[in-house]
Symmetry: C2
């Protein structure tokens, strides 16, 4: 993990694509959490009027994209490329959620790293001059994820203390080649890292080494340290992953504790929301970024943020076959100024 690649993992986006606007929708539990007021909209009906949770998650994506377009004052026709993905088998939440928009589409699978993966690609397309506007989007839904990855909800299975609670929510960000920022200045694309964790109820531990690898390479590639950033925030390591992450990155020479938090820790109140190790799911980092972080940047509370979304790339089946959990993390450097 310490070996540097011959090629840098980090790409500097010289044309500094601008975040035009962002939009987030969350469920009731997320609305009742400490960041509740930062989200654009919340739903009370977990079915969103649909007949299944999978269709509900597609409806969530569709509403979120409509929301971000409306907030940006853009039509679907203004967006050249849409980058999206989700956790559900064959990424149907995304494909069914976006099929009515008539926008050229890149389907992604990055598990809970999808917000950083989609944001990186959308930024790069704008930076390279391939389009004026691109859209990055992802979602998760507690019920569709729990049903698919763990147990039927009706079973009411007990969750171990290391487990995380899948966020019901979707976030979308429009990137443009003109705008007042915040700007995407650099992206560091992660490698797959597998430290041999087999417990699918302890994703934080599985994903922490991937986050360490990416942030370490980001610092080395950019010749920056934690001091450069006002905030360094991972996707959904949760409480257990956070401790492992901070210890590992310290061993590699970077003490980032006073700049650091995790979307999975921030989104819920651990004292009374019964989420064990914290939030998770593609939607977790998506709504914390689209709702909370970008609003705080617009207020000037944060000026330089390093956003690192982490994903565990396993399936229930492959875990049943005795496999370990390979993980990945992508980092996006967001700055209120072009620099």
């Amino acid at each position: 993990m310490t070996n540097k690649k011959k090629c840098k993992q980090t790409i500097n986006l010289n044309n500094t694509p601008s975040i035009v606007t962002s939009y987030s929708i969350v469920g009731k539990k997320e609305k009742n959490g400490p960041l509740g007021n930062y989200f654009d909209y919340s739903i009370n009906d977990s079915y969103l009027g649909q007949k299944s949770w999978e269709k509900a998650e597609s409806a969530l994506i569709e509403r979120t994209i409509n929301g971000v377009l409306s907030k940006a004052g853009l039509e679907p026709d203004d967006i050249s490329y849409l980058f999206a993905g989700d956790l559900i088998n064959q990424c149907t939440s995304s494909s069914y959620g976006i099929r009515n928009f008539n926008i050229p589409y890149f389907g992604l699978y990055g598990a809970c790293s999808t917000m950083a993966e989609s944001l990186s690609l959308a930024s790069m397309f704008v930076d390279a001059g391939y389009c004026n506007y691109a859209l990055a989007c992802t979602s998760s839904h507690f019920c569709s994820a729990e049903k698919q990855f763990r147990l039927p909800l009706e079973y009411g299975g007990q969750r171990p203390p290391t487990s995380q609670w899948t966020v019901t929510g979707a976030g979308a960000i429009v990137l443009g080649n003109q705008g007042k920022g915040p700007y995407i200045t650099d992206v560091t694309i992660g490698k797959i890292v597998d430290y041999g964790i087999k417990d699918a109820n302890n994703m934080g531990a599985a994903m922490a080494p991937a986050a360490v690898d990416t942030i370490y390479n980001h610092f080395v590639d950019t010749d920056r340290g934690p001091d450069y950033y006002d905030l360094i925030i991972t996707g959904d390591l949760g409480k257990i992953g956070k401790e492992i992450f901070l210890e590992m990155i310290k061993e590699k020479g970077f003490d980032i504790e006073d700049k650091f938090t995790d979307c999975g820790i921030e989104i819920f109140n651990s004292d009374d929301q019964d989420v064990h190790a914290g939030g998770s799911g593609c939607g977790c980092s998506a709504v914390v970024l689209s709702g909370y972080i970008l609003n705080r940047m617009n207020e000037g509370i944060y000026n330089r943020v390093l956003f690192i979304a982490t994903g565990a790339l396993m399936s229930p089946l492959i875990i049943q076959q005795g496999e370990t959990i390979p993980s990945i993390a992508h980092a996006v450097s967001i700055n209120n100024k072009m620099e």
Copy 2:
């Protein structure tokens, strides 16, 4: 579908990224098909020495990437970015297959359009100057796909005449910013198209309208017609999809029949290989492109090829819930000359 977007769907790659080399591995049935001699390697053991078909498909990807790197005379460390995806839930064939290479990774989900999606992104990264080398890869395996999408193999279910046979195979292509070609000159990224087909045993019919939409927009965007190309080849429409496709594109003013074929039709001998409507799966278009087409281009038989991989973006679950099949197609223009 006939409405043109305000923004073009086609991106002209001015720096004409070059295909450095390609590599393909197929199963026994594919080796025995009419294109058998064009593939780099074939396997006899469908398990590839693994204990499950899912692990076998990961091993297939790993061997294919080792193959393409070795053929190109490159090390994993020379590749800046790897773009891959597959059909299996949470794309585990790709993530477990590439986890040992230590290459920054973009996970994709495009179903059977993945070879064109990964090739487009890899080409664009080289074209934009983000890297010197990028790798595009995808796979499918008859047994892992049949088990997941249809019925247990042991059940021996009858297949309707409209059904297609998932190809066991993986293809990989290295793109570079220097090389003697063939070059990727343009990519046309598809929109999701859903004509209301519900029969998951008739994918060709579901995907044909997406292929029509993409090829039509490719012709309009580039101001080209079928005459420009020596060969126009779709991913895996199969026999039924091919007929629908040719009829629909003719209605839109383009008669391409004498330039046209389909990877799903070419890969098997329909008279004696019992594949019904033809081949399918991410691996189908991947091995036909990596094995057959690029070899024929190197021989000068074809100089200008339009490769259009098509994907059906449904899951077994969402079909059980009564949904239709949204589809997508991405087109890649490949040329022996920079023009």
